[in-house]
């Protein structure tokens, strides 16, 4: 009897131990991705980037922490800042994407993020980088689409970019509307694999659809 009790307690302890480790990761990721939705300032974004980076360093088999850290760094470039600083942030994000890609090659979400990063490069110096980085971004989005045609973020980012592209270059509201509508449709059916898996962009897509399709 004692033997049995011992075994039960031990297995209980072990389970708690293991569960603690894996659920701690999941719990933390749930918490942090939740916080990500409510970021208001550059400093909050930096703080989250730091947190995701720490998790990425501790959880060497998980790609999502590096993914989110990169996501934070790219988003930081949309706050005011000097061009050199923005490039430094994007360099950092690129390293994190590369790191995540080693863990999870051929991941549609990572390619979307890669395209997003290239778009960030354009925004630092549109006149000179426009053409070159648009092509790089489109290449990444193309791959993302091939890996998972149901990923709404591909269409959302491409649509958003078209909306901000002059009509002469094939952009404008008219051109962006169908893409954004496709994105919205895919958002409605998209179910993330986990609570903390990438699931951003829907609200913004709704706004952009209104903006581009009602003109």
């Amino acid at each position: 009897m004692k033997q049995v009790k011992m075994t039960i307690v031990f297995s209980l302890i072990l389970t708690i131990g293991f569960a603690q480790s894996s659920s701690n990761f999941e719990k933390t990721m749930d918490e942090k991705t939740g916080e990500l939705k409510n970021v208001k300032t550059e400093q909050e974004m930096m703080d989250l980037a730091n947190q995701f980076e720490r998790i990425a360093a501790a959880e060497k088999a998980e790609w999502l922490p590096a993914y989110y850290a990169a996501f934070c760094y790219i988003n930081m470039t949309f706050f005011a800042g000097e061009p050199d600083q923005k490039d430094a942030l994007l360099d950092k994000a690129q390293k994190l994407i590369d790191q995540a890609e080693e863990i999870k090659p051929n991941e549609s979400e990572l390619l979307v993020l890669q395209g997003f990063l290239h778009q960030g490069r354009i925004q630092v110096d549109p006149m000179n980088r426009g053409m070159q980085y648009s092509m790089k971004a489109n290449e990444a989005f193309g791959k993302a689409k091939a890996l998972n045609p149901e990923n709404p973020r591909t269409y959302y980012l491409q649509g958003q970019n078209l909306l901000h592209t002059p009509e002469a270059f094939g952009g404008g509201a008219k051109a962006a509307c169908p893409l954004l509508k496709t994105a919205l449709g895919k958002y409605h059916t998209f179910v993330p694999e986990k609570d903390y898996a990438p699931n951003w962009g829907k609200e913004n897509t709704e706004k952009l659809v209104q903006k581009s399709c009602n003109e």
Partner: protein
Amino acid sequence: MKTLFTIFIVVCSQYLIGQTTIWGKVTDKKGEPLTGVNVYLKGSYDGGSTDTLGFYRCTTRLEGEQVLAASFIGFETLEQPVNLNLNKLTFDFSMKESYNELDAVVITAGSFEASDEKKSVILKPLDIVTTAGGLADIPSAINTLPGTQVVGEEGKLFVRGGDSYETRTFIDGMIVDKPYESTMPDVPSRGRFSPFLFKGTIFSSGGYSAEYGQALSSALILQTNDLPTESVTGLSLMSVGLGASHTQLWNKSSISVSADYLNLSPYFALLKQDFDWQEAPKGFGGSLAFRQKTDKDGMIKVYGQAGSGKSELNYPGYGDVTTTNNVSLTDNNTYLNATYRDGHGEKLISNAGVAWSQNRDDMDISGEQIRETTKSLQVRYNLTYLLNDNFKVKFGGDAWTRNFVQDYHNSQNIINASNGLNDLISAGFAETEFNLANKFAARAGVRAEYSSLINKMNVAPRISLAYNTGKKSQVSFAYGEFYQSPGDYYVIFNKNLDYEAARHFILNYQIIKNNRTFRIEGYYKQYRNLVKFDSLYLPVESTYNNDGNGYARGIDIFWRDRSFASHDYWISYSYIDTKRNYKDYPVAAMPTFVSNHNLSVVYKYYISKITSQIGFTYRFASGRPYYNPANPDFLSDRTKAYNDLSFNISYLTELWDNFTIVYFSVSNIPGFDNVFGYRYSLSPDSNGNYNSYAITPGATRFVFLGVFISLQGKSKKEV
């Protein structure tokens, strides 16, 4: 059971109690607080970010010996061993800025680089195309950079007191024998190569690498494009001609073809010209490019172009400017360049190439016929060994063979002369480049050449140093010896001539910060062994020697500000003091192509509302010397100052759903009457006066209108 309970408690306690807090302040080396620094216990989730005052707080349940790390973009990561069982857990960090590739010291003395690959370069390839007054001509756009001279009647690059032949053009490392189109006297020439062929341009006004030889003053180093990004067909309709091109892209290879036709007669009929054209310039050309990616690092590139042009002009006679000569010119040129680049493992890169060109100019000056044929073939091989990120060695060699023939027939066909030369220049170089802690960089090399024609050798050492004075600023220094074979026109009459030689010293300071660039460069250049002769007009009877010499010294300043979203401008200013005694100069004097002060202001503005980029370029050059036989003081006369204000606009639009650029440019909007110099009769007229005429542009203004259409259907929109 008791033991069991104890175990349970011990295990759980780790999760329930024993929280420890570490805190402290993070500053940079100057003591300024850093915000956003990631301070954490390695291998755990536990950590914190510094606030605006530089303070962090890190709460953990870990115990015992751990490592506390501080990391931040642009700074070197710090680590600090901590024992969490101790009481005092305050740790301050003082972080040191890190130098990444972008901030790393680079050798800049003498060189301007336009590239997309590096972020902190001064120019982008697109700048060359969009500079007003540049007319998509590489030399004209480079002419807005410091160190260059306005020489409007030539259109070539004259760098730091050097004649135009002292600047050499290199494509993928290989020398271009005839980089400019052949033109009539005093009609400016254009570069032979389209700026759209190149992904990178380095303009070096001195102190360049031992890889490049046969250039006394300057090297224009062009790197051709890799694989194109898409298949596209292009059409161009211009006020001066027509063109069509097609690029077909496959997975790892591509082929591009182009053809163009140029005819200035409709333009000359519409806008009055000051030159007495008998036949407006006409020409046609074609090109073929092939690219094949062989593996990750391997690339084969082949580029060939051929073209022909013709024009005829009535022009004042050389001996007596009151007479008129009828001058006609037919020019045929073929150029072929093939290179193969590959990596061998991580450490070795090899570059092999062959370039061939042939040029024939047929000139008829009132019945006197001159035919000049130049053939050139160069074979080259280079090996680069990268020991590590901070140390590389490069060495290689090339063999360059040239054949030049000048045939002369006078109008009565009494004199028939043919003079020519064959030369084989064999060259080898070795160079090492190293970098110490991203703070100090050095490049040292030596180049040796042997010319079979003059049967002489030269050895040219070159050294460049750079030192980082701050994260974005640096000081560079360059020294070098440069040799160039004596010009074809002299060496055909005297094979005992020696190399012309120049020695460069350059000191440069540069700061690039937040899209603003400031650069100042001082130089001193000595010339020796320059070719001298007795008479320009009696080439056969003349004696030739290497007794010429000279110097040039000056300051070049460059400022560019790209910190505004849609505005961009740069200003370059050059001051030069130079004298030389060469050619048929009786004494040392400032040569006719030099102005002491040169200024250019280039401004570009993108108006997104009308999807147009407009640009203005203003150029100023102080007066140039000209030869006045009536003035005993040689070359002491000066023209008035040169002024030009050019404008261009590129309008991006769609034509039947095809991406289209409408380009319009006009030079000299205010209509300045520019004079490049004066030419005098060789002897006075019956009244004892020397007659002369002013060398001016062919027209006050040049107006250009072009429509460039990319036919790619709707494919672009679908992305």
